[in-house]
Each structure stands twice: as structure tokens, then as C-alpha cells.
Amino acid sequence: MTLAVSVARRTARQALQERRVRLILLRLILVAGFLLLWQVASLGTPAFILPSPARVWGAWRNLVETPSFWTDFGITFWRIIVGFSIAAVVGAVLGIVLGASRLLGDLFEPVLVIINTVSSSIWAIFALIWFGLSNWTTIFVVFMTAMPLILTNVWQGTRTVNREYVELAQTFRMSRTKVLTKIYLPTILPLFFAGARLAFGFGARVSIVAETLGASSGIGYRLRQAADLVQTDQVFAWTLTLVALMIALESIILKPLERHLFSWRERQSA
């Protein structure tokens, strides 16, 4: 490595570091500003409408210490994961099937449109009728919300498959399964991932709605309980828990996974 290159690299790294520091600072300012605003707003308001940050913090600490906190947390998490996983598998398989067959694609296109127009709350009501107060109510709602999103993305993905690549594979007389795994899958994967990420976010949010309607455990159920008892600080504490969970999932699992899977793309855009 020549000196010039190493110098250039160092300044590039420095620039990156400076940007990162700046970003962290901005985030801190944002949080501080938010807390300040909240504190000020809570001063003249009764606690059952807007509890102060300190009060919510206290409520959260109490909440974490109750033994049911982790079981509620866990059960909600589990329902989301199960609903999402089934949705991912079903959505991916159906998306590929509909993309591979023009006939099936044309036949089922309206079904997808209809499913997409039905709101998650309606699915929740149906689920309540069909499954009653059980895990399956929430799982079903998560599934019905997440599956069409994943299916649509995968289906779109099959349309972006490069015909020239398939033709190249044909000159090697590559088998159909190999064409599927070596061309279709890598093409679809980024779109599948984008869809799955979106679907997970939506699924997680509607799971709470489903739980407030049709569950006797879980974060959504506790939220409704707290609201019924006008324990506003508890409602806030649960909300914070949820937000923290989603941020953690996003930055600990999804982002690194995506970066790893699509390193060939990231370098392309860099």
C-alpha cells in the first residue's frame, strides 16, 4: 500500500467516524428534547391523562419486576413469530407458484387484491369468531396481515428474473430445480426480505390489536387491562417496552442479516 492510499483511507475512515459521532449526538438531542417536552406537558396535566417521564419510568421498573411481565412479553413475541413464520413460508411458496404459472397468476390476482383491502381489525373480528380467546386468534391476524405482503413481493420478484440468465442456464442444460435455486432464488431474495421486513413490522403492530380483542394474556391484553383501570402510566410503560423490542429486533437481527445476505449489493451502491 502506498502512502497516498493509506492517507486517503485514514481520512475516509475519519470522515465516517465524524459522521457517526454527529449522528449519535443528534439522536441524543432528539431524545432529550422529547423528554423535556413530555416533562413540561405533564406538569399541568393529571397523571391519568399524561404521566410524567419519571412516573412512567417507575411504573416500568415495577412492571419488569412482576413475574407475569416476561410471560406476557414472551407469549406476544411467540405469537408474532409463529404467525410471521407461517406467513413467510406460505407467502414465499405461493408467490413463486403464482409467478411461475401465468394461468394461476391471472386466476388469483383478484383474490390478492381483495385480501389486501380487508383491514386487520376485520381479520381480528373473524379470528375471534373462529378461534375464540386463544393463541390462534392473534397468530391468524398476524398471518393474514403479513402473508399478502410477502406473497406480493415474491410474486413481483419472479417477474424481475433476468431472461438472459435463464437462457444462459439453458445453454448448460441446467435442470429446472437448479435454475430455481441458482437464478430465481437469488433474484427474489432481496424482494422477499424487503417484504418480510415490512410484514414483520405490520404483523407485530396488529398482534397488539388482536390481543386487546381476543386474548387473555400478552402485551395487548395487559394494555387493555391497564386502560380499563385507567393506569395510564402502565399503558405508557407497555408501549415503551414494545418500541424498545421493535428497535432491538430491527438493529440486532434484521439489519445485520440483510447486510450479510446482500453484501454484493451494498458494495454495488457504495
Binding site: T171, F172, R173, W264
Partner: protein, 248 residues
């Protein structure tokens, strides 16, 4: 035996407005075993279409296509044929080594053997240092060399190449010429390639087929009898280049 033989092949494409576009008319072509044939002709005269027909990707409307004296439809040894397309068609999600090994994966060659053969070919096309690079990290010339490697790694008996060297600088181009000639002589490979470079055609080919456009027809077939290796600067080559230029 001729590895490829076309008899009065014709092809039209349906244009989007419903009109028929006649691309090839009455093409006769014979490629004897171990020979190198160059296709030259103006842009749009159907050279790529002709290679697609030979590769079995496009069906001709008229005429016969024989491969190893067998009608193309009954031909079974497709894996002895390799086709280097006009575009490099490298998969962006695969490294150079993975792209080059694609054909071997299709053939079900075991991983260790695959790795060894890919390594050798990468060395041959001068990309051994870029085995782990993704296509977007390669230059245009490197990409076409990777595509050449992908065609050579399966050790074909028939190699079709569509403007294979057009993106290479002169020194690497003549290196690649030497490699292809060496492999062709060593393995008894037959080559059909398209080029716009008259000198390249004379340096490489036994036979040069000049196509005439709209619709594509064979205007002339020239035999180049000079011994290999052919020096592009020699007066014999220069004379053949001059004659060929006249007929274009």
C-alpha cells in the same frame, strides 16, 4: 464429419407492429471438425441470431441444422457446446469464481474438482487475483474475460462466441487469441465466433463467412490458409485483411 452444418436456414421475427422481419435467408454454413469459423457482417445482419439458432435457443423457420451430422432436435450432447453471449451475463450476486463455475455446477461436477478447474481457467484468462470479486468490481474487459472463462471451463468441443474480444485492449486481446488457439489445437475444439474486427478474423479463422444485411445472407466465404501462429504484422495477413475489407 462437420460439427455444425446449416442448410438453407431462414428466420423471420414477428415485429411488435405485426410485420414479419426477415433476418436470415438461405444460410448455408459448414464447420468441419477442429476448424475455426469467423462470422463478419454489418450490425443487425443476424450474426447473433445465427449463433442462437446453432445453440438451439432459436428455432429456424426454414432449413436444417445438423450438429455432429445429427438434426439439432435429436442432438443430445449439448453439454459439449458452450456459448459465450454478446453480453457477459455474469450473475451480480456471484463472485468471479462462482460465475465461472456455473456450468460445472449445472453438470453436477463435485465441489473439489470444480474449484480446481475454475482456478486453472481463471489463471488462463488472467483473473486469478479477482476470483472473489463481484462483477461490479470488474472492468468491462475483465467481465468479458470472466464470461470467456465460464465458457472454457466446461471444456467444450464446440465453442460459440459473440464478439468475445471486443472489450479487450490490444495486448490482452492477442493474449486471449493465443489462449483460444492453443486450447482449440490441444482439445480439438471447433470455434464459431462473431467479430467486427477484420484483422482478428484473419488471425484466428480458417474460414471467414461474410454476411450481407437485410435479410442476412452469405455474401462470401473465404478460406484463410496461412499457418498458425499468424503475425498480424506479416504481409500475408495484411494482404488477406485487405482483400476481406474490399468484400465488406
Amino acid at each position: 464429419m462437420s460439427v455444425v452444418r446449416l442448410e438453407s436456414v431462414g428466420k423471420s421475427f414477428m415485429r411488435r407492429d405485426g410485420e414479419q422481419l426477415e433476418v436470415l435467408r438461405n444460410i448455408d454454413l459448414e464447420v468441419p471438425e477442429r476448424s475455426i469459423v469467423a462470422l463478419v457482417g454489418a450490425s443487425g445482419c443476424g450474426k447473433s441470431t445465427l449463433l442462437n439458432i446453432i445453440a438451439g435457443l432459436v428455432q429456424p423457420d426454414q432449413g436444417k441444422v445438423l450438429l455432429n451430422d445429427v438434426p439439432s432436435r435429436e442432438f443430445r450432447d449439448w453439454r459439449t457446446m458452450a456459448y459465450m453471449f454478446q453480453e457477459d451475463r455474469l450473475f451480480p450476486w456471484r463472485t468471479t469464481a462462482q460465475n465461472v463455475g456455473l456450468g460445472l455446477e449445472a453438470f453436477g461436477v463435485p465441489r473439489t474438482e470444480r474449484r480446481e478447474r475454475v482456478r486453472k481457467v481463471l489463471e488462463l484468462v488472467g483473473l486469478d487475483k479477482f476470483a472473489d470479486a463481484f462483477p461490479h468490481e470488474l472492468s468491462g474487459g475483465m467481465r468479458s474475460r470472466a464470461a470467456l472463462g465460464r465458457s472454457l471451463v466446461t471444456e467444450p468441443a464446440i465453442l460459440l462466441m459473440d464478439e468475445p474480444f471486443s472489450k479487450l485492449d490490444p495486448s490482452i486481446r492477442s493474449q486471449m487469441h493465443d489462449e483460444v488457439l492453443r486450447i482449440a489445437a490441444l482439445k480439438g475444439m471447433s470455434v464459431i465466433f462473431v467479430t467486427h474486427d477484420v484483422e482478428e478474423a484473419v488471425v484466428l479463422a480458417d474460414k471467414i463467412v461474410v454476411l450481407h444485411p437485410r435479410p442476412g445472407r452469405v455474401r462470401e466465404t473465404r478460406t484463410i490458409a496461412l499457418p498458425y501462429p499468424r503475425n498480424p504484422l506479416s504481409p500475408e495477413v495484411a494482404e488477406d485483411v485487405r482483400l476481406l475489407r474490399l468484400s465488406l
